[in-house]
């Protein structure tokens, strides 16, 4: 059946709008839901309040957030925010620094064993993390890393290195390295050439790798629950899973939802500001960009 040009355009545009609506609904519905749940009052949740939005009278306003952030009872949760930020940031900085060296070698130098490095990275990226939990648990307890920041930073580094190396080497191969020599010919010193030419060209790639690394460390759950036992190092995901309110038999769903929202805020901020870089980084590793 042939549609006339104008009608066909209209059908296509209608389909597009529908498609966009579906994608947005898919991505945002559960997020809106958890936000909505975080505004239900704890009493309403205990009695049972089915429905998407906080019903009239069952709303709690900002009470859940206030309790979570200022009530003494939830000091452990606040401590886990600090742990998560500290551990994820340190792991990210160290991992990206080490990965930058390796990625430079892979992108620019010819050497035996390049394939070995890339294969190792790939195998580790697919490693079943849980199978390491037992031996690491045993090792960390012996050397005293159990339930400490470094005890989590070290595994996070090893498991984010593959992603960082893979992403960075894809970026580095696109850099026109001849420009370094060109700058030197024009009278720049080697240091100037590196700082003024290469660093600005490499920075976006390094930054992208850093964001993806941070996401991984922030999201980790397996190491977080297995290698910590107290608030000394327990990160947010583990802390959320052990979240118990006043009544141990009835999990405080709305408080938990508020905690979940707090844990999601940094991610949403990163996504809002660096959407392009994240998309580029995610696909650079798998498909040649």
């Amino acid at each position: 059946m042939a549609l006339t040009g104008k009608n066909k355009d209209r059908v296509q545009r209608g389909g597009m709008v529908l498609g966009v609506a579906l994608v947005l609904g898919w991505c945002l519905l559960p997020v809106v839901w958890i936000i909505s749940l975080s505004f239900k009052s704890q009493a309403a949740v205990t009695n049972g309040s089915p429905g998407f939005f906080p019903s009239s009278g069952g709303g709690a306003g900002w009470d859940n957030y206030r309790d979570l952030l200022f009530d003494d009872q939830y000091a452990q949760f606040r401590r886990s925010i600090l742990n998560s930020i500290g551990i994820s940031l340190i792991a990210t900085i160290l991992s990206v620094a080490i990965a930058t060296l390796a990625a430079y070698a892979i992108a620019r130098l010819d050497f035996k064993g390049k394939k070995f490095v890339l294969t190792t990275a790939l195998v580790i990226a697919m490693f079943p993390v849980v199978s390491l939990v037992g031996p690491l648990f045993d090792m960390w307890r012996t050397i005293g890393l159990y339930d400490t920041w470094p005890g989590l930073i070290i595994p996070y580094m090893s498991f984010t290195l593959p992603l960082a190396i893979w992403t960075l080497s894809a970026f580095f191969r696109e850099i026109p390295w001849e420009m370094e020599q060109a700058a030197q010919v024009d009278g720049a010193t080697q240091w100037q050439a590196f700082r003024k030419v290469i660093v600005p060209l490499a920075a976006p790639g390094v930054f992208t790798a850093a964001i993806l690394t941070f996401f991984f460390a922030w999201n980790d759950f397996v190491f977080g629950i297995s290698l910590t036992s107290t608030e000394a190092a327990r990160p947010i995901p583990a802390s959320l899973s052990f979240f118990v309110g006043n009544d141990p038999f009835n999990r405080p769903a709305s408080l938990l939802a508020a905690g979940a929202v707090v844990a999601t805020v940094p991610i949403v901020i990163l996504v809002l500001f660096f959407q392009r870089k994240i998309v580029a980084g995610l696909t650079a590793g798998a498909v040649k960009g």
């Binding site: 945002l28 958890i34 089915p50 390796a102 130098l109 050497f111 993390v129 849980v130 899973s241």
Partner: protein, 315 residues
């Protein structure tokens, strides 16, 4: 390294030039090794070394609650695990979750990729939104869906037409698995769709246009032109996601804690080691988990003949 810039040497100088090149290769090799070493050491320290230790510990009857009773038992831990129904039930669960979630992620992810590829308005908004499920912590996703399916506080029962309002999704196996897989699919479909979008971008528009001129319908263009030309991207996406799905742990821990037989193989291993301190049998399970991931990877690579290095055009 390109040698085209080097001036053509006369025949008499040939041996000397050769030596110079190997010298240069040698310095380059050693510099590269120094640059790569920290990354390799760190990656192997946390994976290969503990894995070897797991291999060693798996030969002992070893429980942390009675560390002095450690005794060499050979392969009997493996025999215990492999002859236990629990191991096979959990492996079955894991394989099923892997197959079902990857299938849905591929179909929905491809539809999303098509929408994003053809999009002329709201590009930034759509790409920003699609990254949100990717960034959300899996534990948070698990809670969001657990509460959504809950019969006392959720909205799913109210929205689904044929489900009674007091239906308890977490009271039996089938519906619990659906809830777990819903959370898994929701969180990871965006990643899949971004990988597929990058693949779509590499399909030449001219070829699609040519097929159109030749009278190919939309479905013919999809099956004969678009899909074959983005095979590499699809395979990479499937491989990554399948291996990731095989490790499923977070969602099950949060949503059911393995109740009603919804345990995965990762969860079983975790339970043996961390909750019951059975390091011997737990290590055997760790080794078996590692081996089964290798088998899954091998099968995917062989069946689809995917070469990751080729896909990246890295030699």
């Amino acid at each position: 390294m390109s040698t085209t810039t080097a001036p053509k040497a006369s025949r008499s100088q040939e041996p000397r030039r050769k030596a110079a090149v190997t010298d240069r290769e040698r310095t380059e090799n050693s510099l590269a090794r120094k640059l790569v070493a920290p990354a390799i050491v760190l990656m192997l320290f946390v994976t290969a070394f503990p894995m070897l230790r797991a291999l060693y510990l798996s030969l002992f009857s070893y429980s942390l609650t009675a560390p002095d009773d450690r005794e060499f038992v050979g392969l009997s831990n493996y025999w215990t695990a492999l002859s236990d129904e629990l191991f096979w039930r959990d492996t079955g669960n894991t394989v099923m979750i892997m197959l079902v979630t990857v299938f849905f992620e591929l179909v929905i992810g491809f539809a999303f990729a098509l929408v994003m590829h053809r999009l002329i308005f709201a590009r930034g908004l759509v790409r920003t939104s699609i990254l949100i499920p990717y960034g959300v912590i899996t534990v948070v996703s698990g809670f969001a869906w657990q509460f959504a399916f809950s019969n006392s506080n959720g909205f799913v029962n109210g929205w689904l037409p044929f489900i009674g309002d007091d239906f308890n999704w977490f009271a039996q196996y089938d519906s619990s698995m659906i809830a777990i897989m819903a959370s898994e699919i929701w969180k990871t479909t965006p990643f899949m769709s971004l990988l597929l979008l990058a693949g779509l971008a590499q399909v030449s528009e001219d070829m699609i246009e040519a097929a159109k001129v030749d009278g190919a319908t939309w479905f013919q263009r999809l099956y004969k032109v678009i899909l074959p030309n983005m095979k590499a991207a699809i395979m990479v996406a499937v491989l990554f996601r399948a291996l990731d799905a095989y490790r499923i742990f977070d969602n099950i821990f949060v949503m059911t804690a393995g109740a009603n037989g919804t345990e995965s193989i990762s969860f079983l291993t975790y339970r043996q080691v961390i909750e019951q301190f059975q390091l011997g049998i737990g290590s055997a399970l760790s080794v078996l988990l590692f081996l089964s991931v290798l088998v899954v990877a091998f099968v995917i690579v062989k069946v689809f003949r995917v070469n990751l290095a080729d896909a990246r055009q890295e030699s």
